[in-house]
Amino acid sequence: MSTTAIAIAKTSDLAGASVATAVLDNLAARFRPAGVFLVLLKPDGTVAYADPAAGMFFQRYVLPLLQYPEPNDPSGLRERVRQVTASSSVAVWNALPGIVLGAVPYAEKRQLVGVLMLAGKSSGFKLGEDIVRVCSKLGLDGIWLNQQAEELPTYGDEAIQRHARLLLSVMRDQLRLSSLEGELESISGQLADTYEELSLIYQISGGMRINRRATDFFKQACLDVMEVIGVRGMGVVLQADNIHRQEPVLYGQMSLPPGHVKKLGDELMRQLRQRKSAIVVNDLTKDKHFSWMVGSSHQLLAVPLQRQDQVLGCLFGIDKLAGDFNSVDSKLLSSIANESAIYLENAMLYDDVHGLMMGLLHSLTAAVDAKDAYTCGHSERVAMLGRTLARESGMPEAAAERYYMAGLLHDVGKIGVPEATLNKTGRLTPEEFDQLKKHPQIGARILRDIRQIEDIIPGVLHHHERYDGKGYPYGLAGENIPIMGRIICLADCFDAMTSNRTYRKGMPLEVAISEIRRCSGTQFDPGLSEIFLKIGRDRLNEMLREHTEKSKKLADLQEQIRAA
């Protein structure tokens, strides 16, 4: 008895290792109610699968009998298995006492695995000499076996053959079904990966906003890619230009020994500048350039960020969580790098153009300030205060930046006012005052043809209007004065009061603040005055200090202009 149990255990191990047990279990369950038992024999005659839920007759008698080692194969079983597998047709065998077997060839993935058999009690089963001999070999009680057999239907050759044919067709359907299920699963898996890559690319392109810092963009891209490819660490090297340059960084749960990230970044850039295509190293011990990383890392994937022929930086991943870096990973990372490189190039162009424009505007302002000796750094301070007022009024950052520009250019029209008038220390004659009052309109005229800054013209044109309507050039009042004009007006007056002139010292901050309060509603928009007063002297002082540093540079520039 115990030997049988061991035999069955062995059989199931074998089955699990080599055949699709689920398919066979399913088939076995269909034929079991008919009193037949499913078993799979390999070409060498060993049992690869046996219905684990079969009755005692099959488990204790049929299965051991099929497995019983007979050196010379007297029952001809092994020979018959060979015949069936060769002929691929249905066969019926009566070789074993009391049993009839219907056999069909069994293939998986178009590979012949063996012979699938249905075993039934044969119509000739009786407790005769044959069976008693087998029982004694197997250590079975013949009477017990006979009792077990009585409950089973008997099968003749023809009946078992019919069942075997049915088995063949059901088996083919089953195999087809299970292979389709497998295909579906694999396609779904592929599709899931594709969705993942697609949404990664969407997400990354969504993050490509020009006003975002490139380092922030690349950090987020690294974190996103890390999840999708499944790596321990993901990093970036940026060596594009002065603004878009950063020390190599590595994100993720892993950390490298001190200095290794920098060393890796430098080495990667050296390699990528030459080859200009992805580096895939799945075994760092065998790589001559990166074997020094062994100990902290195993695998490396890196792709260049390049613009035309110039390598601006690179993206790199360290240690894939499952398996090796493959062509899918390097392709995905490359396409992300290509997209990011375009973004990087645009960011560089934007910074170039923006830097050039701001430089030109500062030069223009410096030229104005140079003409008017009293107002050194005035435009810059009005710009900063204007921007602060815009922010405090609740405007978004991009809009507030326009107020900075308006402040910078508000007095540009003074270029058209005679220097003698601008620099006169005594009282102006009515004619001179008329000349001076033209500067907002002259400024607006100077700027009106520059499409990119036409939105700041109201700040230039209306910065001498008063809330009570007594200002110039148009005498607009209240809300009729564009908000930009009202803001620049307040910023302009405050700076005029506090800054030193050659002929007088600037007012103390407190006096200027109370002056703003006093003129709220007459000269200034009362709402804005309130916002201004909330800023408080500490922050105003802070702003002036910040400006002093900048104005040193401006003063130098003015010096150069004067000298020229």
């Binding site: 396609i187 779904s188 899931a192 993942e196």
Partner: protein, 126 residues
Amino acid sequence: MTAKKILVADDESHILNVVSLKLKNAGYVVVTARDGQEALELAHLERPDLLITDYHMPQLSGLELCQKLKADPATANIPAIMLTARGYELEAGDTEKSGILCMISKPFSPRQLLATVTEVLQKTAA
């Protein structure tokens, strides 16, 4: 702890297969429906812990499905995640009243969907 049961409803079989594969691999029991009506019947029969449904479906839309589930005390507590190509059609009030905890727009990241499922199930368990 027994595995959580999730009902997935979508008339597009590729979405259905991708979502079920991802959930099955993560150890959830998955029941699938190919339209809103089938999903409604299965929700009563299977009492899932969570519903993931498409918005545009024949017979019964995802929103109608959620409203019907919400109206019946037996299924009112099943939280829902809605997959949609047109999230903007839904009013915030509608989603709240129908037990829809979040919207995920197609094409979605299966990984993020799984993360959302885990989060929603943790939240509702607490």
